[in-house]
């Protein structure tokens, strides 16, 4: 089995409202998986089902090849969107408690906590209460608590919301290190651009349904449509632009007369970028010729729009 988690046609209803509608997912081992979609799409419900906080009405979930069971909670680390810690409890004590709830024994938990506290340079916080710490500090503790029991699967729901940029970077680096060590990671977010660079696989959830999933690179390849951004160094921009417009579809053109810089977007009919580049080079000095790769949110919007048109 190469999938850490498999969901098969999972459906979940809250009264009249369908939170998840036959969602199937395969989340590969040792990768970073993006669970993307707008607020209220059903991401958190899916995550809660994986964490066995709630249960599906229909469908099955498999963890590492086995049907999801109670003991699997020890192998999952979860950083919820709505997160916090006991305000009046001491940091060390609290971290120990939460680690023990995940099944670690006290001595081992203590050892690992010492390690993490030193690694994130917060060793002297052990006896402080959460209410004495700043929000950023508390987030570090929260992260440690999530990963301390060395789970096989880590789930981060809106991981960077509320993190200041410095801490967000520290956490991002730690997450990448964990991935290198073999942990599988799920990122759930509605801010798609925030995790784009991290994810190898994504699934798009919209209105309780999965609308798209797969390898991010493959999805992007499938969704690019021969649009190039071109920059030319030329003095007679108007002439060149009119010539090009006759042959191709041009949009978003702009001309900087001081720099003699002409920029425009080119829609090519099909894969003939080499010929086009040669043609452009004859006209003027080409200083930019970049294929525009659609962003995840563009892909999302296009997918949703096409689905709605078909529906």
């Amino acid at each position: 089995m190469n999938d850490i988690l498999v969901a098969k046609e999972v459906t979940k209803k809250y009264g009249e409202h369908t939170a998840l509608d036959e969602v199937s997912l395969n989340i590969p081992k040792n990768s970073i998986y993006g669970l993307l979609g707008p607020n209220g799409a059903g991401k958190t419900t899916l995550i809660r089902i994986i964490n066995q906080i709630t249960y599906p009405d229909k469908g099955e979930v498999y963890f590492d090849g086995e049907a999801l069971q109670n003991h699997h909670v020890a192998q999952i680390g979860y950083l919820p969107e709505e997160r916090g810690l006991y305000k009046s409890m001491k940091v060390g004590e609290q971290a120990l408690y939460l680690a023990q709830l995940k099944g670690l024994d006290k001595a081992e938990a203590k050892k690992r906590l010492k390690f993490w506290f030193e690694r994130l340079e917060i060793g002297d916080w052990w006896n402080k209460k959460i209410q004495e710490l700043s929000k950023g500090m508390a987030q570090k503790i929260q992260f440690i608590v999530t990963v301390l029991h060395e789970p096989k699967l880590l789930i981060f729901d809106e991981p960077f919301s509320g993190f200041d940029p410095i801490n967000a970077n520290i956490i991002k680096d730690e997450i990448l290190k964990l991935k290198e060590q073999g942990t599988s990671i799920i990122f759930s977010t509605h801010r798609m651009e925030s995790v784009e660079e991290l994810c190898e696989h994504i699934a798009l959830i919209h209105r309780s349904k999965k609308v798209l999933d797969g390898k991010l690179s493959e999805i992007k390849r499938a969704y690019k449509n021969n649009i190039y951004r071109v920059g030319l160094q030329t003095a007679n921009a108007e002439l060149i632009l009119s010539e090009i417009t006759e042959k191709f579809k041009v949009s978003n053109s702009s001309y900087d007369s001081l720099e003699n810089q002409l920029d425009f977007t080119l829609q090519l009919p099909d894969e003939k970028s080499g010929e086009v580049l040669a043609y452009l080079s004859n006209k003027a000095n080409v200083n930019r010729f970049v294929e525009t790769i659609p962003s995840t949110s563009e892909i999302f919007i296009r997918t949703v729009q096409s689905k709605e048109l078909n529906a």
Binding site: Y14, G15, R48, N51, Q52, I53, T54, Y55, D57, V73, I76, Y78, P80, E82, R83, G84, L85, Y86, K87, S88, M89, Y97, L98, Q100, L101, K102, Q142, V145, T146
Partner: protein, 447 residues
């Protein structure tokens, strides 16, 4: 199980280490003992305050009826005018002046008599004076009817019907009230415990919601485990607190009484009154010692072991029912101010149980109201305990009632905990809105 123990331990420590809890635990006995000592001390001071009352008696109907007691004495004025008497009472610092005018008829004497004081007189004193006048009036009216004093003595009897159960055990009058009072004490204890520690459970749930740690925890343990651990941990903290109160209050009380030299029996004001009245007025019950003995016997006959056993049963089930409701309320709301609308309906049966208990069960422990409320599961922990000191079986609570009551309570316990756990499970993940009863009902249908 290991996780449940971890939760219980955390909840217990979190509660016990809480500053206000610690302060309450150690301050309450001091406050309580302080109150008792203060009352006892004030009573003592009050008793020591010796009142002198002057009597200006111009009539022939009264001579030596006013007898001095420890707190009052009487001084007779002779041959002075009322005005002079008033002046001298004021200048001598006496408490008051009783003026009895000279009239032909006693009725008129009584009618015209006045008691003058600087301020409104204390009821103790006026009662004593009233009693003397009443007695005197009665005697004179009896004489008018043609009875002599000795004949009157014969007529003036006091009678108490002697009671016994069918199997021949002699009862003492009022023992039912005493028994119910003991049971009522247990019932009251249960109510207080539920209100105080149920509230703690609720606040603890709200704290987990507002601090947003709840989802982190229930990704490790089942919500039901968390709820149960919370209830058990909090009640253990409560039992610790009660234990500390009990021990420290009794020690402090003993110390305080020793230091202030107060006789605890002085607090028993009713005993005080009885002897004061009895000495002069009606002849006292001839078998006083015997009665006390009977009371003591009855108290010994109360099945204490059985009582404590059932106290524990009713306490446990009652507390679990109510505290799981409290937990569900805490889960449903976002902050404590939103809890009011839900708390009232749970306080209501508790209050009802206490009031019904004190008014109905005391006078008739086996009447229909008492039976009904001791079967109804939300009131039975309190009301049944008020009935139980009378024993089980003949002369006490019928076995079927006890069994039915416990079965109903147990069934309700299962049902309520199940429902509360459902509301709890959904509620802890709901943020930002104040739920209505309708919504709570909807939550019950979620899986």
């Amino acid at each position: 199980m290991r996780k449940l123990l971890l939760i219980i331990k955390r909840e217990y420590l979190a509660k016990v280490r809480n500053k206000s809890f610690v302060i309450m635990t150690f301050l309450s006995p001091i406050l309580m003992v302080g109150m008792v000592v203060l009352i006892a001390y004030l009573t003592k001071v009050n008793d020591n305050d010796h009142k002198v009352i002057a009597i200006l008696n111009e009539s022939n109907f009264f001579s030596n009826e006013f007898v001095a007691t420890t707190s009052t004495s009487y001084v007779n004025f002779d041959d002075v005018s009322l005005e002079t008497a008033k002046d001298s009472v004021a200048s001598l610092g006496f408490y008051g002046l009783l003026y009895i005018p000279d009239e032909i008829h006693i009725e008129k004497v009584c009618d015209r008599s006045f008691f003058y004081t600087e301020d409104a007189p204390s009821t103790d004193i006026t009662e004593k004076i009233d009693a003397v006048f009443q007695e005197r009036l009665r005697q004179s009216r009896l004489l008018e009817l043609g009875l002599t004093a000795s004949e009157f003595e014969k007529v003036d009897t006091q009678f108490d019907i002697r009671t016994a159960t069918f199997d021949g055990q002699t009862n003492v009058k009022g023992i039912n009230e005493i028994k119910a009072f003991i049971g009522g004490g247990f019932g009251y204890l249960i109510m207080m415990f539920i209100i105080i520690y149920g509230g703690f459970v609720m606040r603890s749930v709200i704290e987990e919601k507002t601090s947003r740690i709840i989802e982190v925890i229930i990704s490790s343990v089942k919500p039901f485990q968390l709820m149960l651990g919370k209830i058990i941990g909090t009640s253990l903290a409560g039992i610790t607190q009660f234990g500390i109160w009990l021990v420290s209050a009794s020690v402090l009380l003993l110390v305080a009484f020793a230091v202030f030299d107060i006789d605890p029996s002085a607090l028993n004001t009713s005993a005080h009154l009885q002897t004061g009245m009895g000495a002069n007025m009606a002849p006292t019950i001839p078998t006083a010692d015997q009665t006390v003995q009977l009371y003591a016997q009855e108290l010994f006959r109360i099945p204490w072991v059985m009582l404590i056993f059932f106290f524990l049963v009713y306490f446990l089930l009652g507390y679990l029912i109510y505290s799981s409701i409290y937990a569900a309320i805490g889960a449903a709301v976002d902050n404590e101010t939103d809890t009011q609308q839900f708390i009232f309906p749970i306080i209501l049966p508790l209050m009802l149980a206490i009031y019904v208990g004190f008014f109905s069960v005391f006078s008739n422990p086996h009447g229909p109201i008492a039976v009904g409320f001791s079967l109804f599961p939300l009131t039975s922990p309190i009301v049944m305990l008020m009935r139980l000191p009378g024993g089980i079986g003949e002369g006490g609570v019928p076995v079927w009632e006890l069994v039915t009551s416990i079965l109903l309570l147990f069934g309700t316990f299962i049902g309520i905990v199940w429902l509360a756990a459902k509301i709890y499970r959904v509620g802890i993940l709901m943020y930002g809105k104040k739920p209505t009863y309708k919504e709570l009902f909807k939550w019950l249908k979620y899986d």
